[in-house]
């Protein structure tokens, strides 16, 4: 439609063609209103029955809610209209008539279960506050990529079909690949590291990852968006600096470019961009602070992984994004480097939102012999990771990086209850369609 005008751009005096969905029809007798909705907003179409062509009135008032129509007419000022203007229709075309029975009410007046919403995402995303989540999600990805470029990264795309998993394990979806067994990749970890030894030096990737975990929680997905960073010549502290930079950039982008969407989600002026440095707690400090909250039935001791309730208690205590550093080596993956002066201590770190973990990272083991030992200690056959390890023999610089859960970033930024609200078509144990 070459000559279409968005409702937000309709100026009094113009003759326009607006197109969109029939949001509502209010028939007051001699006068009636049709509210037309498009991606930019809503506009009132006025019908003065006695003064208008009968067929035009019939078409306009007879069309079912959520049908798609286009309306040509003059825009007039009308202080009583929600946007101070209205269109007096000269012609109406019904482009797609909607059924009278809708599986979901896009006006939002009738609440729907999450599963009904996910089954009917098309209708669900007609709601302003749902649409806002995905417009913000797009802005987050834009800001994040932009921040990576400012940090001197090259964007990469690594394969999603792989012969071996990053950490082996059983949490892989198997594929049949021309008669061979293959897997859907659970992380770009090994591939992004391979690029560190190349001339690119510093890379990022935003792409899907696949985990066959049998979790069924509001913060796990079986297909998720991973935001990955890796840099040559970085140690874990520099990787943390980069992490802070990128996460702040995401908040800043949303604050700058998504004011309307934030308002639709109920943020008035209380959308907070994180300021100052994220506190960096050691693992040891973290378990002490968790123990001090008294929230756990049993005190944590050195070597324990942090239970979900522990993370939550600590998050409430800290009250902002923070890092946990210096984890016991034994609970971090083998490809994370240990501290040179204390092999019990890992350079691995997590970056936490008060509600949950967002990022996992660290300096990587770049020494060939140590890396191969790590595979063996993990019970993995280094031979099957040969394509990866052998590149460490040909000049692999020290490097560090991290992976950030894209949906968790959206979820925590916007205070969503369930991570599925941050994905158009989530995948979990029960949900494979749409």
């Amino acid at each position: 439609m070459q000559n279409r005008t968005y409702t937000a751009d309709a100026e009094p005096g113009d003759t326009v063609t607006v197109a969109g969905w029939v949001h509502e029809v209010r028939d007051l007798g001699g006068i009636a209103f049709l509210i037309l909705r498009d991606k930019t907003g809503k506009i009132q179409i006025k019908f003065e029955k006695d003064e208008m062509d009968e067929e035009l009135v019939e078409t306009g008032l007879g069309v079912h809610r959520e049908s798609v129509i286009s309306v040509t007419g003059e825009v007039k000022e009308e202080p009583r209209a929600p946007t101070d203007v209205e269109v007096v229709p000269e012609s109406i075309e019904v482009l797609a008539e909607a059924d009278t029975e809708l599986p979901l009410d896009p006006s939002g007046k009738v609440d729907a279960e999450l599963s009904t919403r996910l089954d009917n995402r098309t209708l669900d995303l007609r709601k302003e506050e749902v649409k806002a989540v995905f417009e913000i999600r797009a802005e987050i990805l834009r800001s994040v990529r932009n921040a990576f470029r400012e940090l001197g990264c090259t964007e990469i795309n690594t394969p999603k079909i792989v012969a071996t998993g990053t950490e082996g394990g059983t949490e892989l979806f198997p594929i049949t690949y021309f008669g061979e067994e293959a897997f859907m990749n659970q992380s770009p970890q090994l591939f992004k590291q391979l690029m560190i030894g190349s001339g690119l030096e510093r890379v990022f990737e935003v792409g899907p990852i696949f985990r066959a975990e049998e979790h069924n929680t509001p913060r796990h997905l079986n297909e998720a968006t991973s935001i990955d960073f890796e840099s040559a010549f970085f140690d874990h502290t520099e990787a943390m600096d980069a992490c802070e930079y990128v996460v702040k950039a995401a908040y800043e982008g949303v604050a700058e470019n998504c004011q309307q969407q934030l308002e639709a989600l109920g943020f008035a002026d209380d959308f907070e961009v994180p300021e100052g440095e994220f506190p960096r707690l050691t693992y040891e400090e973290a378990i002490e602070r968790i123990n001090a909250t008294g929230e756990l039935d049993e005190q944590l001791v050195w070597g324990d992984d942090l239970p979900t309730e522990g993370e939550r208690a600590l998050g409430e205590d800290v009250g902002e994004h923070y890092f946990i550093t210096d984890w016991p080596s034994e609970i971090k993956p083998f490809y994370i480097k240990d501290h040179d002066d204390d092999e019990q201590l890992s350079t691995g770190f997590d970056m936490m939102h008060p509600r949950m973990e967002l990022v996992s990272g660290g300096q990587r083991e770049h020494r060939y012999e140590r890396l191969v030992e790590g595979f063996e200690q993990q019970g993995l056959d280094p031979e099957s990771f040969d394509y990866y390890t052998k590149m460490f023999k040909y000049g692999m610089p020290p490097h560090a990086g991290w992976g950030l859960g894209g949906e968790r970033l959206v979820m925590t930024m916007l205070g969503l209850d369930n991570i599925r609200e941050a994905v158009l078509f989530p995948r979990d144990r029960q949900r494979l369609s749409p």
Copy 2:
């Protein structure tokens, strides 16, 4: 390395720490040079043996090629050095010693087969002209996303694990998904269309697609990057306009921001950004012109698909990007709308580079009954696509869109012989690793 200086930024008079790969060592007797390479370029490190600490000289000249080192020293002007400056080392640290035998020569002096290069991408990407391809690829993706935003699109991410393929067919990789059969998605087609009926109206996605085609050609991949566009209230001509805009933006971005990379690839001033409108040939004109070239053994007749040699002959004849429109309906997918005034003619279009097809698109069938009929005619069970078709009953606007092969765009823009040169880790029938 907080205090690292890139070689390109080393200014005479500065004391710097540069870090990178040992590109070359030239020992001339009393004097010797080590060329250090990093992502920004190369720098000469000078050793005057008699005037320097013996251990320093031994370290610098004894280290194997492609090892990773850092060098601290003063930058001096030296007109005879390749970059007019050199570093007089005060200390050298060997960060990762490389094996003496390399599976691939990153200096490029020794040619390598594509398969050796793909097995050793880390080393392969130390070559300037290979690195340049992937830096340009990243710029293409940046420019393309930016162009989509200028067109008012929202970025979406649709699932890669799906219950049914876009067009059914056997060209799907099967997955085991928690005991159920699922597939890796061959196209975001159905999902992006679902978003057209939502409040987003106009969307784009850049993401992986998976096709189990048994092709083995220099222009097919089994895992590729699809650049997808879809807009409500667009017809096929408007979709073609958008396509032209996005492809030109990719060329413009590269011309503006990748001069150094283009030079590394041998483009002097002859990198051409497409100008003017891409010619739009009807299918009928296309077969006439192909027949007129006399390149085919047998004349094409209405209804034939265009054979590869036909595309090539026509591409040479046209000599620039062009569209082929108005295809016979029977050789376009069922979800493409036919012309209202001639059901034998499809609104489908292809956008071609003289070497090959880049884009496939069209206006979509948005009428529920017709769409369901299309599934049936295709031999597909409409029931299993219910999640998709039912949304067409609730107000689905007319819409159009297209999919652009990301690697084909890179390949044709840069004149690469094989599409595998445009992917870090290509997947084909023979290649599943790395």
